[in-house]
Amino acid sequence: MLGTLESGGKIVVSDLEAGVGTLTRLQPGHVDVVLVVVEPSAKSIEVAGRAADIASRSARVVVVANRVRGEVDVETIRARLGDRDLVVVPEDSSITRADRDGVAPIDAAEPGAGVRSIIELGDRLTESAARPSS
């Protein structure tokens, strides 16, 4: 389905299922960017490393280091994924509260550092999409 969507002037955001199953079926041109979301845990990093390797065959990969509490967490992720384009999203109690209350984090009364990082990532991606490809 992703491969058949018209993309002129539109942005499609697709939330894929956990793991690498869907990624293995992705073909070049289906998507422009794959965001590989990773937590600072050995299991998550193991999957993210594999996902990034598979996704990079068909799209640009940005690794999103999520729920990061400090430099140790960043270094743990960089040790496996450091050569990738990496965006850090700090642990954010406003996201935790939003998840618990069943509301969108972006609608939180006082968005925290994590939400702000995701907004910046969105801005960055839309800017790069608007630039003519060389």
Partner: protein, 265 residues
């Protein structure tokens, strides 16, 4: 006692399954840990580190129609005896494997053999006294497709988020369709009594237990270590020790005489 651990991604299924498997082994039980999740998890939570091995690849063959099956002459007992690996506390681990860059195709023999083993376990006499702890992948799919027919208890691991609760309710509904299956909800990463109450209200069910949010568990995850090895005295381990005892009580099996408890090691 035969259990399957299910839930939404990131809820902590593998940590719960791996820690419970070892705690039950320490209570004197023979324990088989079954990993039917293609993503890494159970081997790490048991303390073996990441294992990708397709353990049943040599136990599989194609039939005349080109379909994978267990080799003739290999039953569940032999598959466990020959192809499982030894984990800490004497737990045996059996997994169908983890996909590499080529995807699932190289694992299909092991995967189909694993599925058949899972379906024969409950009828295999030499394994009748064993405790089985299965770690299923995120979501309801394997529960719906009967990947854990051995299980008498489905433990649904739930985090205090709406997404996790909604997934848990759906998985619970599907698992209850199994014959004689009991569904038990385990609240994980709980920050306090208000979390517990909110989760019980939203699940419309009582909770088997509440496992507290625990920095030690997070650090064990970061390091890729078993929670039991990194922080044996942590609040999360204490809560799971209580769960192990409660499961023994509910299964009617009781504790094994002369068994060692966690403090003995």
């Amino acid at each position: 006692m035969r259990i399957a651990v299910v839930g939404k991604g990131g809820a902590g299924k593998s940590v719960v399954a791996g820690t419970l498997a070892r705690l039950l082994a320490r209570r004197g039980r023979k324990v088989l840990a079954l990993d039917s999740d293609p993503m890494p998890g159970l081997s790490i939570s048991l303390g073996l580190g990441p294992l990708t091995t397709a353990m049943l690849a040599d136990a599989a063959e194609k039939d005349g129609n080109g379909r994978w099956r267990l080799k003739k002459g290999i039953g569940a007992a032999r598959a466990v005896q020959r192809h499982s690996v030894l984990a800490p506390d004497g737990v045996r681990l059996l997994q169908f494997g983890k996909p590499e860059l080529e995807g699932m195709a190289p694992l299909m023999g092991s995967l189909n053999a694993f599925y058949q083993v899972a379906h024969r376990l409950a009828q295999t006499k030499v394994l009748s006294g064993w405790t089985i702890a299965g770690d299923l992948p995120a979501g309801p799919r394997q529960a719906a497709f009967d990947w854990a027919p051995y299980a008498k208890f489905f433990i649904v691991v739930v985090e205090p988020t709406w997404q996790s609760v909604l997934s848990a309710r759906r998985i619970g509904r599907i698992a209850r369709a199994g014959n004689g299956v009991k569904v038990l909800f385990l609240a994980n990463k709980v920050s306090g009594p208000s979390d517990t109450k909110v989760m019980a209200d939203r699940l419309h069910a009582g909770l088997l237990a509440s496992v507290p949010a625990d920095d030690a568990a997070r650090e064990a995850d970061r390091l890729g270590m078993a929670l039991l090895d990194y922080a044996p005295s942590s609040p999360a381990v204490a809560a799971l020790e209580t769960v192990a005892g409660e499961l023994e009580r509910r299964s009617g099996e009781g504790s094994v005489p002369g068994s060692s408890q966690i403090g003995d090691r």
